[in-house]
């Protein structure tokens, strides 16, 4: 990264399951107007890992229509299949076995087991069961979870390669609602911690990265921006900016005590 001379680029790489990624921004591919817009936004985001959902082929669908993976070839992107829409461990495991077959043995997956239709909160008991099963079956599991340090740690102990607590509800754009819990997770968990869900705008992503998160996963914040491609570029910069600020180490906060930046000596008339 020639424009990043002051940053040790090895420190700036995200390593998941032994694979190194320059981009710490992971993006979803849902909710875009069409595949062309999806591709433009993802290119602008600089993301290398992109999530996809696994769904039934519609019987009688027009086969001449291009498919998502024609626009996002697995040769160029790390495709991260998810289990969105699964409400129990069994369904999630089945979905990811299908994904592995679809992607020719690809092991890196995003597990998410949902508990409730209106909040899309994770079902943690089922998530833990599915995680165990998938790890045993040789998958590299990145896992959407509650912002609960105990559950996050349990997922690490099972062997998940990354834990991904929600910042706020999926698709809500409410930002990081419990930074204190996230701090504890960052403190207690050794595998990469990525904020997944709830990012609304660039500053939310920057805050997550400044706190020391290893990455951010988002979909709606880009796809449902008025200009998704412009927002994708903003998110790229926000994540990079937050990461560099984290590495740089922020100045200490000084409550009730100002500190002048200009010299006190040599003022005119003194």
């Amino acid at each position: 990264m020639p424009d990043n001379n002051n940053v040790d680029t090895t420190l700036n790489n995200l390593v998941i399951a032994g694979q190194s990624y320059q981009s710490r921004l992971l993006v979803g591919t849902g909710k875009y107007r069409d595949f062309a817009e999806t591709k433009l936004a993802i290119d602008a985001s600089g993301a290398q890992i992109v999530t996809v959902a696994i769904r039934r082929v519609n019987i009688g669908q027009d086969a001449s229509q291009p498919s998502l993976l024609d626009f996002l070839p697995p040769s160029r992107f790390t495709i991260l299949p998810n289990t969105a829409g699964c409400y129990d461990a069994k369904e999630a495991v089945r979905t990811l076995r299908l994904a592995r077959e679809l992607l020719d043995g690809h092991k890196l997956v995003k597990l998410e087991v949902l508990a409730d239709d209106s909040t899309l909160f994770p079902n943690m008991p089922e998530t833990l069961i599915a995680a165990k099963e998938l790890v045993k079956d040789g998958f590299d599991v990145m896992v959407y979870c509650a912002d609960d340090p105990i559950q996050a740690r349990a997922l690490e102990d099972i062997g998940c390669v990354a834990v991904m607590p929600l910042a706020s509800l999926i698709g809500s754009g409410m930002g990081i609602l419990n930074p204190w819990n996230l701090e504890i997770i960052l403190d207690r968990v050794g595998v990469p911690v990525l904020v997944d869900a709830g990012i609304g705008t660039a500053s939310d992503a920057t805050i997550a990265m400044e706190m020391g998160c290893d990455g951010v996963l988002m979909n709606t914040a880009i796809a449902k921006a008025r200009d998704p491609v412009l927002m994708a570029g903003a998110m790229k910069k926000a994540v990079e900016s937050g990461r560099e600020a984290f590495l740089a180490g922020r100045m200490p906060k000084k409550i009730y005590q100002a500190s002048a930046s200009s010299p006190r000596e040599g003022r005119i008339g003194s």
Binding site: T29, A53, I54, R56, Q61, A63, L98
Partner: protein, 67 residues
Amino acid sequence: MLNIIVNGRPVTQPAGARVDAIVAGMQLAGKRFAVERNGEIVPKSRLTETPVEDGDRFEIVIAVGGG
């Protein structure tokens, strides 16, 4: 005649059909897809040799946009 369920819908196949016949009807040539038969993955390499049996349940999936 074999009565089977494909992606939740009843479908018929002639006796002796193999799994690739179901896929062929879906015009998936050149696309990435995966097949599950009665809860078990059928690898692509075995589509032509795996028989369809009466009452089988198939799931045939592709990747779509998601978060």
